[in-house]
Each structure stands twice: as C-alpha cells, then as structure tokens.
C-alpha cells in the first residue's frame, strides 16, 4: 500500500493496451506514420544540388570548347544549355543557375598548350546553391586540364587534402535520415501521451481512478509502458526504412542503439505526460505537444543547423532538449560506430532528462479534484 504497487500499475497498463487495440487509428498512427514520414521526407531532404543549369555563351566554337562543355555535362551535376541570347538574362529570369563564357581563342590557346581562360558567372542570390556549385568547380577544372592538356596539372606548392571520415560519400541522406527519424519519433511519443491523461480528465474517468487507492506514479508508469512499447515498434520500422530504403550504414552496436532509443522515448513520453497532466485538456495538450515537440527539435537539435554554430545561449539551451542528445547518439551509432564511452554524455543527459520530466509530471499530478 505504502509505495509504488506494480499490480496497480500493471492494471492501468493493461487497460491502456485495450484502449490502443480498440483504436485502429492510434495503432496505425504509432506504427505506420513514422516510417511513412521518414521515407517520404527522407527523399525530399537532400542537400546535394544536381541538375544545375549552365547557360553557355560559346564564342569560340572550337573543339576544346566542345570538350569543356562535355565535361560539364558528364559531371552529373550540370546541364548545359546553349541559348541564343545573352546568358546573363537567363540568370535574371532564373532559367539558368550559372553562365559560362568561352571567348574566341580558347581552343587555340588550350590546344596550343598555352594557359586558357573561361568565365563562370553564378547566381549569388541563392547562396547555399552557389556554395555547392563552387565546390564542384575544382573537380571540373581538374578533369578539363587532364583532358585538354593530356597531363594532370602539377600539384600546387601547398595543398590541403580533404577526406571525409564516417560518411565518405558525404551523402546528406545518411546524415539526415537518422535525424529525421529522431524528430518524428519524438513528436509521436509526445503526442501519444499528451492525449492520455488529458482524456481521462476530460471524460471524468480520472475522478473515478482517484477514488480508488491508485497512486499517481502507478498511473504514470501504467500509461508510459504500453506507449513506450508501441513507439519502440515504430522505431524498428524507421530503422528498417533507413537501412533498406536509404542504405544508411549502421556501424555501431544495436544494443547501444536500443538503449539510446529507450532513453529518448522515455524522455519524450514523459514530456507528453507532463503536458497532459498540466493542461488536462486534449486540445490544448495537442497544441502544446506539437509546438514543444516540433520546433525545438527541428531547429535546435542539430538536425539542420549544427549546435556548435549557434550563439552561446542557444548552445546551452539545447542541452535541455532530448532530441539534441538523441540526434548526437543516433548519428554517432549509425555513421561512426560510436561506443558507450563516446556516447556517455548524451546517454546520461537523456537519462537525466527522462527522470526530470517524469518527476515534473508526477509533481504536477493533482490527486484532488479542486477546480
């Protein structure tokens, strides 16, 4: 009677399972929606820029100019357009992203072994795209030099060789998909529990629950457990989608990933419970759940913008966001094969936040019916 009673918590959990099983909508939402969204948005979110339209003004018309155009087209990133008019007008009207000017004498110089120049004009109004284009140019230059002059260009006196560890292809999908999964799973978990306690207050059943010797902790654990299991199954489907559909490598330990997922899910479910306990109304709980579950995790978790480049205040602020820590853990386990030692901080932070949110929900759980 005194402390937490497992039997009563189990009764609450069993009842909650029945609610879930009788409600195909919740079931479909929890199991199907995450994997659907991850697959859908996983295709959409891609930071690589392809099919850049280059308007070419070829005033040389020689064999070297033709070859240069072929090299651009063959790179897979550029599409060569040869408009009749001024290429810069194409930039203005956004029909092209860049313009390439090949002046007369280019072929003569290039084939004669003399230095040859072309001008590449790009649209700076979309700076992220511009930066990506700039990144592709050295490769094109290298390929062109090799083909036109028949020799590799001599190495510069000082050169910086870059090589990407962990995500050698720098595929943004490998990076984005685990993060996307974290955001969607987090939001789902918050929403599922945000509704449960508020529903009991709204339909009056909480009054009946409280008229029995059941304790708040038993109600909270009883509600947490079934939804935790449900969300975990949802995570499994997301994992399958990441591996099979997007081919994201998984270098770390599955056990460690399960632990990270459990901690993160507990934190998100507890956040939902806390919202539910405080608002006591399903609609308000839903709105608070979406706002608190979506915006911070999209913008401040490191999903899109790296935490390290945020202003100092936000770097500290992100520490109270479970998705920030899970993002770090999930990407580490997937792409770097990080172990327990490397992930100790995020895992401890997740555990701490889970406990904190649970304690808050428990503290705010009113056992009397004072209006």
């Amino acid at each position: 009677m005194n402390a937490f009673n497992l039997h009563r918590a189990y009764s609450v959990a069993r009842k909650e399972v029945m609610h879930i099983l009788r409600d195909p909508f919740t079931l479909a939402l929890a199991l199907g929606l995450p994997v659907m969204l991850v697959t859908f948005f996983g295709y959409a979110i891609d930071f690589e820029v392809r099919d850049i339209k280059v308007a070419v003004a070829d005033r040389d018309n020689g064999p070297a100019a033709r070859r240069l155009k072929e090299i651009f087209a063959a790179s897979g990133y550029f599409r060569v357009l040869e408009p009749a008019g001024n290429p810069v007008e194409m930039l203005d009207s956004r029909r092209a992203d860049a313009a390439l000017f090949i002046e007369p004498g280019f072929s003569r110089d290039a084939l004669g072994g003399r230095p040859a120049r072309v001008q590449f004009v790009l649209d700076g109004s979309d700076n992220s795209k511009g930066a990506v284009m700039m990144g592709y140019l050295p490769g094109i230059q290298r390929a062109a030099a090799t083909r036109l002059y028949g020799v590799e260009p001599p190495p510069a006196p000082l050169s910086i060789e870059t090589r990407f560890l962990f995500n050698p292809e720098l595929s943004s999908r490998w990076f984005m998909v685990p993060g996307l999964g974290a955001i969607i799973i987090g939001l789902l978990a918050i929403l599922l529990t945000a509704m449960t306690v508020a529903r009991e207050w709204e339909n009056g059943s909480m009054e009946l629950l409280l008229s029995t010797p059941v304790r708040p902790l038993e109600i909270i654990i009883g509600k947490l457990a079934p939804y935790g299991l449900l969300v975990l199954i949802g995570v499994f489907f997301v994992y399958l989608s990441a591996r099979l559909v997007f081919g994201v490598p998984f270098l770390g330990s599955h056990l460690l990933f399960l632990l990270a997922c459990l901690l993160f899910i507990t934190a998100a479910l507890s956040q939902g419970l806390f919202i539910s306990v405080v608002t006591r109304q399903q609609q308000v709980a839903m709105q608070v759940g979406i706002i608190s579950g979506l915006l911070p995790s999209m913008l401040l978790s490191g999903f899109i913008f790296p935490v390290e480049s945020m202003p100092a205040f936000f770097q500290y602020f992100t520490m109270i966001l479970p998705p920030r820590w899970f993002m770090e853990a999930a990407r580490g386990i997937f792409l770097k094969g990080s172990g327990l030692a490397e992930l100790a901080v995020p895992l401890l932070a997740l555990a701490g936040l889970s406990l904190l949110l649970l304690a808050l929900a428990l503290k705010k759980f009113k056992t009397d019916l004072e209006p």
Binding site: M18, R22, L208
Partner: protein, 308 residues
C-alpha cells in the same frame, strides 16, 4: 468493520480560493441508511460527496467515514468506500469484463475473489449478457447498473452515488432505485445525490442543501411537517386565476406559501383558522382540496423561498 455510524460529519467546510463551496455542514448517517442530498446545481452536493470519498481534503471541520478520518490524506477512506461519479461510468471502448477487471486491479482484488464478487453483483443487478460485450453497446440504464457493480466490487461498507440516474430513462430510474434498496438491505450505507423529487421521496433521510449550507435535514415526512405545520390546499380555479383574488391571498395573514403548479395553485397556511379566513372570498367557480405537501413544495419553501 467498526461499529458506530457510517458517517459522522462536524462543521465540514471547503474553500476554493475565496469561494466557500461547502460551509459548516454537520450530520450523522447510520449504517444501512439511504441518505439523500437534495439541492440545485452548485448547492455543494457533489463537493460534499467528493470530500467524504477522500477525493477532496476539507479546509476545516471533521468527518469520520466508516470511523476513518483524513489524517492520511483520504487514502484509508478510499479503501472502504465505493464511488460512482456523475460524469463518467465505464470506459465505452472496453468490454464489461475489462472494465470490471480494471476496477478489481486498481483495488488489488484477488482474481478469484473478484470473479466471485462479479457473479454476486451480476446476480444483484440482474446482468446476464456476455462478459465480452462492449460497454458502448449497452443501454444507459444497464451501464449505470454496471457502474454501480464496479463501484461495489471491493465490497465497500459505504457507497456514494452522485446523481446516478441523470440522463437515464424513467423506467430504468425506477429499476435503479429498487437496486439501491437491495444494496441497503445487504447492510450497506448508500449516500446519493439527486435533484429528482420523486427519488428524494425514496430516501430514508434527506439533507437539503443550498449555496453550500445544509438548510434542512430529516425524513421526507419530517421535512414536510416542519416546513408545513398547518394545512395545505390545492386551488383549482377551473380556468385562469382571478388576479385580484390571488393578490389578496398573497397578503393574507397566516399564509406560508403560495406557488403555481400547472393550472392549479398550492397554498399553505399557519393553521386551519388562517386558511378558512383567507379562503372565505374564494370565487364560486373555484374548488379547493386539502392535500399533503410534496417534497417539491418543501423544496420550494425551504430553498427557493429563502432566495426571494
């Protein structure tokens, strides 16, 4: 189970901020009674019941429920009482069996004991549908009876019913009251709130509440006798009542109460002499019959009369 009264309430009050919802209420309920709370919405009936179930902690005063107080925050009380709330009965999306299992689980009943109680209670309420019937598919009256069974699964000494028949068909209401009498016949104490006068008539004693105060307490007959010591008559004018006569009647000395009841009027007087004097000028077309006051008359006199 301890001896002594089921409820012993002294100066019980509760405040929500500045608002006093229940104000210095005192009464005693013996075991085996049907004790009713009668009053308008907001009179404090539900709040009083919630306190006595351990759902609200009183601001002041004392209450012993089955001999137990609030020292432990109402936890002891919750174990020995059964409560049926006004708003919610059973989970519609669960079956009858699942609902009762849940109630049993919350009270940590042994499965075998719970099954035995379930059979007994099904017998009591005359429920013979399968356990896997979805509650949503049951008629309102049956749902109400099942809710009572769920509230009594742990065999409580005292059962609190907050407007158990609101929104239920009249035939089902009568059935439910027969059930309440069966429950008290088993030695249980039933505390019930209602605003149906015919239901209040069936209580052993009634506590009349108004704006958080207990304004009268007694059996229906006692309440009628104390509210109307003299005779009461029903006036039938066989048509619309002459305004002048009514105006005079209202001012007549010894008139306690004059209230319209449909086309007729009820007039109560201090004594027989006052009645005869006041009705001397009764129009010829009108008839008057001596009647017994109903609880509704009592209610009008004691509750609404004060407000005038």
């Amino acid at each position: 189970m301890t001896a002594g009264p089921a409820l012993e309430v002294k100066g019980l009050s509760i405040k929500f901020g500045e608002f006093t919802a229940v104000d210095e209420v005192s009464f005693t309920v013996e075991r085996g009674e049907i004790f009713g709370f009668l009053g308008a919405n907001g009179a404090g009936k539900t709040t009083t019941i919630r306190m006595l179930c351990g759902l609200l902690i009183p601001s002041s005063g004392s209450a012993l429920v089955g001999g137990l107080g609030f020292a432990d925050g109402g936890k002891g009380i919750k174990k020995i009482v059964g409560y049926m709330s006004q708003k919610f009965t059973l989970y519609n999306d669960l079956t009858v069996g699942e609902n009762l299992d849940f109630a049993a689980g919350l009270r940590k009943l042994e499965p075998r004991y719970a099954a035995k109680r379930r059979r007994e209670l099904f017998g009591l309420i005359g429920f013979d549908r399968p356990l896997n019937t979805l509650v949503a598919s049951l008629p309102g009256g049956v749902k109400q009876e099942l809710a009572l069974a769920a509230a009594m699964l742990h065999d409580p000494e005292i059962v609190f019913l907050d407007e158990p028949t609101s929104g239920v068909a009249p035939a089902s209401r009568a059935r439910f009251w027969a059930l309440i009498r069966k429950v008290t016949a088993l030695g249980k104490t039933v505390i019930v709130t209602t605003h149906y006068m015919d239901e209040a008539e069936q209580c052993g004693r009634i506590a009349l509440m108004r704006t958080g105060r207990l304004i009268a307490l007694g059996s229906p007959d006692e309440l009628k006798a104390s509210a109307f010591p003299g005779p009461m008559t029903e006036l039938d004018f066989n048509g619309s009542a002459p305004a002048a006569f009514l105006e005079n009647l209202e001012k007549a000395p010894g008139l306690l109460e004059l209230s319209p009841h449909g086309m007729r009027w009820h007039a109560a007087f201090k004594d027989k002499a006052a009645m005869e004097a006041a009705l001397a000028a009764l129009p010829a077309a009108a008839s008057c019959t001596l009647i017994k006051p109903s609880l509704e008359d009592v209610f009008i006199r004691l509750v609404e009369g004060v407000e005038r």
